[in-house]
Symmetry: C2
Subunit: 376 residues, 2 copies
């Protein structure tokens, strides 16, 4: 099977630089610091991923001019010590029965305002709010939405490799049998192909056939795919720690004129979104470009989600390509462009590529044919 | 392969009763209501589990005398409608680009105090705090710690079945080869056995050999198991939606006198914890009973975690058997009793059963031999 060598791991210096940049960005935003919970923010900043996220508090405290401190349960300290970024921080452990908030409080300004990971547990935020009533908090997506959004060259290489692997999977899935098989069977094929092409984790394998394709969040079900079905294939996961996410809509046998027309509109809308990407454009401009094309074609009410989302150490993160998101695109940002048309009870079409902003426009990480493939 | 028939699914009436009880418990605790996030609380109360937990707000609002309302992203509404508990609640969906907190706010008392799922995202809590500055919040574990703790007969049957399946897995794992194989290989065997005996999800398969056993949170690594090793085996997952979690410590070949002694102490401590279980005893009494036995044997400083945790729709939840937890045991509560001794750099021993409180004592859901098995 075709494989590429694994990229060089990120080093403690890489993580030190990311943590320093986060602390500086926080200070620039008027924050006393950043509180990072297990999950993608912590993976990005330290490389540490607890084996399970539990009710026991783990939090990374970052503040400008202060050594990063990772508060961890004593039980998990040995694992945390082995994280690639741990050489760039101090561990402070707390034992079952102690109050983890009293352990964390001395690390915080008692009247500071802190950015906190979106997915930090509410119970931990409440614990800190109670322990330090003078502090205040704002979610990292609100305070520092672009913290992980601009990728460096090593991250771009990983995202490109993940996209290429997903493309390889698509190249094979259009050759499998669709007619007469259940959606879940094709989804299992897709998952196997993502793993075959180097993914370590499959996040989703949507197979939306016929009317199921009209529910944009349908995954894959017991429905048997029939000749004449449109089939939305939306799949992705993580390879070397970075995400893939691509969608193509295929047809079992020859499409009707209407099906072809809807597919053409979505394909043009996807291209219009891509053409709108350049440094300095607003995120919402990408959404508007795709949406205008679909609306002009008369399908505006059937495009019922935003046009795109960022991707990095997760398959779903800022920046969002949505009306109202006025922040500018910056070279190195990576996100999906995925317009769709969903005709309730009938069929859906979605076409999605991951793209990155370049110095003068955009580059795609998915490059399979966007024309409607005919499958059997 | 031995299998038992799947239990009858919980019905909308079951979920209606659970939601009503939660709302009443909240009112009794002086709360205006309960805000339930995706995760185990939502599974328990509605049977609904989104395919992915994302930044899009999903929240169940419960308040005494008020119809339960589930706020969901429009994209996910079709999935939510199919949840088994959805007939007992009202769905209110919100579309990308809308502010989900303004959609949720009218459901809340503007100056009420609410219990909120521990694992609700901090960003959502902050969104509600900002939208309704007069509201206040407390984590459900603090406000209603025993919301899911007392199991009904149908839940007990599921937990018993999960425990029996884990016991079947143990019965087979002691027959596999240990010496000369990596921990990860034995862990894979364990995972396969849990699935073979009906688990739908494997949560953990700890194989801690020799010095790795002295790290209670070690999972399984590249270490090759050698003759003379103690090996901690701690494994569990979900079967029919309810958890298993059991630990036995085995030995490759004949143990030394010291190894046998440590194992005997842990086994006696586990029994002492079990003997302390009865309605009305405090949770901490179970911890104290196990801990006293280990301390009296001179190993007190090497028992570095609490004695147990609850289990239900998760493998890790209240009640906790820990010093300071003075709440009383109630018939139907289910939790682990899992004392251990960890000698750094040398070996560890842990023995764990899931037990339930009965009207006059306790009953084990794990019933394999607690004596040290000799494996090859």
């Amino acid at each position: 099977m075709p494989t590429t060598p694994a990229p060089a791991p990120f080093t403690a210096d890489d993580y030190r630089a990311r943590m320093a940049r986060a602390a500086e960005s926080a200070a620039d935003a008027g924050l006393a610091g950043v509180l990072v919970a297990p999950g993608p923010d912590l993976v990005y900043l330290t490389g540490y991923q607890p084996t399970a996220i539990t009710e026991r508090l783990t939090v990374l405290v970052l503040a400008a001019g202060q050594e990063p401190v990772l508060v961890v349960p004593t039980l998990e300290a040995p694992d945390a010590e082995h994280a690639p970024g741990s050489a760039a921080l101090t561990l402070r452990d707390w034992t079952d029965g102690k109050d983890p908030y009293t352990v964390t409080a001395p690390l915080l300004d008692v009247d500071g305002r802190f950015g906190v990971s979106d997915n930090a547990w509410a119970m931990h935020l409440l614990g800190l709010q109670k322990e330090l009533p003078g502090t205040s908090y704002v979610s990292l997506t609100e305070a520092l939405p672009m913290l992980r959004a601009v990728k460096d060259e090593h991250e771009l290489a990983r995202l490109a490799a993940a996209g290429a692997a997903a493309d390889e999977a698509y190249g094979e899935i259009v050759k499998v049998r669709f007619e007469g098989r259940k959606e879940t069977e094709v989804a299992a094929d897709l998952a196997g192909l993502l793993l075959k092409y180097g993914h370590s984790q499959v996040d989703f394998t949507v197979v939306g056939s016929g009317p199921n394709g009209a529910n944009p969040h349908h995954e894959a079900g017991d429905r048997t795919i029939e000749r004449g079905d449109m089939v939305v294939l939306d799949f992705g996961g993580l390879k070397h720690g970075y995400g893939s996410d691509t969608t193509r809509t295929v047809h079992v046998g020859e499409p009707s004129a209407e099906e072809q027309r809807v597919h053409d509109v979505v394909r043009e809308a996807q291209q219009a979104g891509f053409d709108a990407v350049r440094p300095g454009a607003a995120c919402q401009d990408v959404d508007r470009a795709s949406r205008a094309l679909i609306a002009d074609a008369g399908y505006g009410e059937y495009f019922i989600h935003r046009t795109g989302h960022g991707i990095g150490v997760t398959t779903h993160e800022p920046p969002y390509m949505i009306e109202g998101e006025e922040r500018p695109l910056v070279p190195g940002m990576c996100f999906s462009i995925e317009p769709g048309i969903y005709l309730p009870g009938r069929f859906g079409v979605r076409i999605e590529d991951i793209v990155t902003v370049t110095d003068d426009g955009a580059r795609r990480f998915n490059n399979t044919d966007r024309a409607m493939a005919i499958v059997e």
